[in-house]
């Protein structure tokens, strides 16, 4: 568990290295009802017809993975991920290794919050999805 008093600007979260398979991507798409009508998340050929290089991971799934980096860091403490703001920069393709990073950029003792830059990189260190998270360290 991370205590507010013990965290510092510049502390890192992760990196979390992941291999998201096509099946995992399809399972996610099905859960949120994107299984039908949005072939780009489930089928290479359908994605290519839309001008994409192949299947891509839903933006919401990237948001979920970036959030997971932060909630893993929070663990089972009562700190609360209160905000996650993401920007989808480059389509994320499954069946590749991606790495998720975090970095504490600000710490505000008045409301016991920390701001964390989070981002997802591919193997070429290209930033595919970037974001900012806020964590409240509740007493």
């Amino acid at each position: 568990m991370n205590k507010f008093e013990e965290i510092n600007i510049g502390d890192t979260l992760g990196p979390l290295e992941l291999f998201v398979s096509k099946d995992q991507c399809r399972a996610y798409a099905r859960i949120i009802g994107m299984g039908e009508g949005a072939g780009r998340f489930t089928d290479d050929e359908a994605a290519k017809k839309e001008g994409l290089p192949g299947m891509i991971i839903p933006g919401n799934m990237s948001l979920g993975l970036l959030s997971k980096l932060v909630t893993d860091w929070i663990g089972s403490s009562n700190a609360w991920l209160s905000r996650m703001n993401t920007t989808y920069r480059v389509p994320v393709q499954p069946d590749r290794t991606i790495t998720i990073h975090g970095f504490i950029t600000n710490k505000n003792p008045a409301d016991r919050t920390a701001e964390i830059d989070v981002w997802m990189e591919n193997e070429e260190a290209e930033r595919l999805v970037t974001g900012t998270a806020t964590v409240e360290f509740r007493k």
């Binding site: 948001l63 009562n78 703001n85």
Partner: protein
């Protein structure tokens, strides 16, 4: 050049969805798809001892609720087809199994931005998630980008 739109669009709720019940089984499948293993989301016994006194969904579960049938037809369009540029989610309260969740959506703002690649119009739609007790669970700002 300022972007033209009807100011009456802003803040007017255009859709409220029917309640959807959060099933423990769906939280489980969601966790499996994300590789989530934190016991406060997955293990009833451990979650009882945790900060929320029972299983809660991972915060990002908030984005799994489907927008209403008329959501996309109410997103104002400018220029070529818009695409999802990102989301800003404020997680207000934990989502629990048994919650009956509704989404209400309105246009929050419309603004123009000029970058290296030209002029873009951003449309921000805010969806607010509430449970059956009228408690706010989350606010989701969907950012759609249109190239003019």
């Amino acid at each position: 050049m300022a972007v033209n739109y009807d100011p009456a669009l802003i803040n007017k709720v255009f859709e409220v969805t029917e309640p959807v019940e959060v099933k423990a089984e769906k939280i489980k499948r969601y966790c499996a798809a994300l590789g989530e293993t934190n016991p406060i989301y997955t293990d009833e016994v451990a979650a009882k001892e945790g900060p929320y006194g029972g299983i809660v969904a991972p915060p990002s579960f908030a984005v799994t609720f489907r927008n209403g049938r008329h959501f996309f037809e109410n997103v104002p369009r400018f220029g070529r087809r818009g695409f999802d540029a990102g989301k800003d989610v404020e997680f207000v309260s934990p989502i629990r199994p048994g919650d009956q969740v509704t989404l209400s959506s309105h246009v929050k703002e419309i603004y123009e931005k000029t970058g290296r690649t030209g002029t873009m119009v951003f449309v921000v739609i805010r969806s607010t998630l509430k449970n059956q007790k009228d408690e706010v669970l989350a606010h989701i700002d969907h950012r759609f980008m249109n190239r003019t």
